[in-house]
């Protein structure tokens, strides 16, 4: 495992790399380019970077207008503002299925010190309910590059959920939109997870293994469209099913997996995530601990599940 890197940084790098060969890619920001890391693109291609000022609704609709001219706009801001421009995303972008990419950073509790007002725990729920929207949350820097590439190739709206906190960079893994990836095999239980929680879930699986429980860990980087096959296969094989996410347990991957499995058998099923409350300030790991999302806490919840 190499040095840690935030997916937002990998996003900035990916834009620069992909922008070299594709002059249709343009990037829009709402005064956060130095935080969303699109400032790398701005530096490399200043004439293809557009500021809209502190105006997230306008960010989305301007990007949408540009997409109708044949450009491939990436609009970036913080994930917490997904709700602020939700109706622009719904009506201007998703209703006509326009080719707009929304790469929103600083998702989840690991924003840390900025506190609950800035920790998006609902963005996956919001984006998941929009018809035609592809929702991707990569687990590490390598997967982020692949996800950005895939977003360019999709002719339609894509939501990329990205993190502020530097996290582990795994060995290169395959990425296909709509496919889960098995990060660790196991027979006694399965964790479906994504983003920053992939690393946490793998650490939890190691702790569980020491206690004699072999838990599979599946990276569900694409939350929509959902890889129902892998969910059905592993639930049948493992019978104890867990979801781990840095998101409200309402409306996230947990609910999506639960919907797939409903009526299909008798499983132990537990959604591990933010228990329907807002975040708060603190160092990222302190906040995760407060909300029960550190590896040892996840392992305990899995052991206790009956």
């Amino acid at each position: 495992m190499s040095e840690k890197k935030a997916t937002r940084v990998a996003y900035g790098e990916a834009l620069v790399e992909l922008g070299k060969d594709n002059d249709k890619i343009v990037v829009l920001d709402a005064d956060l380019a130095s935080a969303t890391m699109t400032n790398m693109f701005r530096k490399a291609f200043p004439d293809r970077h557009f500021e809209v000022g502190i105006a997230e609704a306008n960010l989305v609709t301007i990007a949408n207008g540009m997409s109708t001219m044949g450009l491939i706009p990436f609009a970036s801001t913080f994930a917490v503002f997904a709700g602020r421009c939700f109706e622009q995303i719904r009506n201007s972008v998703c209703y006509p299925h326009n080719n707009v990419k929304l790469a929103f950073t600083h998702a989840g509790l690991t924003v840390g010190e900025d506190g609950g007002s800035h920790q998006a725990i609902e963005d996956v729920a919001l984006m998941r309910v929009l018809p035609g929207m592809t929702v991707i949350c990569p687990a590490d820097a390598n997967e982020t590059l692949k996800a950005v590439k895939a977003a360019v190739e999709i002719d339609g709206p894509v939501y990329l959920r990205l993190a502020r906190l530097p996290t582990a960079v795994f060995e290169d893994m395959p990425f296909t939109v709509g496919k889960g990836h098995v990060m660790r095999e196991g027979k006694d239980g399965v964790i479906f997870t994504y983003g920053t929680m992939v690393e946490v879930s793998l650490d939890a699986a190691k702790l569980l293994s020491e206690k004699g429980m072999e838990v599979a860990v599946i990276n569900m980087a694409t939350i929509k469209p959902l890889d129902e096959d892998i969910i059905n296969t592993y639930a049948a094989k493992c019978s104890k099913v867990f979801t781990v996410e840095e998101h409200n347990v309402i409306g996230g991957l947990g609910d999506a997996v639960g919907s797939v499995l409903a009526g299909k058998g008798t499983f132990v099923f537990k959604k591990i995530g933010v228990e329907d409350r807002f975040g708060q300030s603190g160092k990222p790991m302190d906040v995760l601990r407060e909300y029960g999302l550190c590896a040892d806490q996840v392992a305990e919840q899995i052991l206790a599940a009956k």
Binding site: M66, S92, P96
Partner: protein, 270 residues
């Protein structure tokens, strides 16, 4: 077209608006009738469009920011040849390309899906910005309602239009003074709307009678102000042309019944 031909077209469009809303039993006649001259002037005179090639990259665009005025938009697109007027009776019916609000993926000639007020102005600004970036010399128009200017997004878009010097962008304000719950000044006063757009950096052109097609064309034909977006504020009459609909906010989103249809069509013959 001659002015007489354009005026005759406006009259036909008004008949279509009445028939479409009456057939559907719903829809928005008032704001369609106030915008009729604006839409006819754009599609029959001003805009570079080809009904046989509705997606031509170099075409001029219209974003119907006041998306509820679909009867007016569809009447003009149909009469201009983007689709057959035979489709008019399918307006608002299941599987029709003539959705209640404009759908760019279903209806030929519709440049943007709109209906959620405020968003069209911003979409148009994005189109104009994209056009400039790509060296596309098209012009982008957005038709705004006056009540719509209560949406903050109109002003976010306006700030951006000036910031990016979008002289390929024209907002046209259909200023009929009425909205669903009453007059603009009762619901949320627009103040000096002319001064507001000027303060946001627009070149503003006032048209004292936006239901006089000659005056609308004169405004549209003024050369672009270099480095500035334009806003044409057209004073119009909601429900224009139908005596019992004129200046009545109640006809914003209500269809005429058959008796009212007959009376309206009779008035449009004269």
């Amino acid at each position: 077209m001659t002015i007489q031909q354009l005026e005759a077209t406006c009259k036909q469009v008004r008949r279509d608006i009445i028939n479409m809303t009456a057939d559907a039993g719903s829809g928005h006649p008032g704001g369609s009738l106030s915008a009729t001259e604006i839409l006819v002037a754009l599609y029959f005179e001003k805009m570079n469009v080809d009904p046989q090639n509705p997606k031509a990259p170099q075409r001029d665009r219209l974003v119907m920011s006041k998306g509820h005025a679909t009867p007016g938009l569809y009447a003009v697109l149909g009469r201009r040849g983007f689709f057959s007027p035979d489709l008019f009776p399918t307006f608002r019916q299941i599987h029709s390309p003539l959705q209640g609000h404009p759908d760019m993926k279903k209806c030929p000639g519709v440049d943007a899906s709109t209906g959620s007020l405020g968003q069209g102005a911003s979409i148009a600004a994005g189109m104009a910005l994209g056009a400039k970036h790509m060296g596309n010399l098209c012009h982008v128009y957005a038709l705004l309602g006056d009540g719509e200017c209560q949406e903050g997004l109109i002003w976010e878009a306006s700030m951006a239009a000036t910031h990016y010097k979008l002289d390929n962008l024209t907002f046209i304000l259909d200023h009929n003074g009425l909205q669903i719950d009453g007059s603009n000044s009762e619901v949320m006063c627009l103040g000096d709307i002319h001064a507001k757009f000027e303060a946001f950096g627009f070149r503003v052109i006032a048209v004292d009678d936006g239901n006089d097609i000659t005056k609308v064309l004169d405004a549209l034909n003024q050369p672009a102000a270099e480095g500035k977006p334009t806003c044409i504020i057209c004073r119009t009459v909601k429900g224009k042309g139908i005596s019992f609909m004129e200046n009545q906010s109640g006809w914003h989103g209500k269809a005429p019944n058959n008796e009212q249809r007959e009376q309206a069509l009779k008035e449009l013959e004269a």
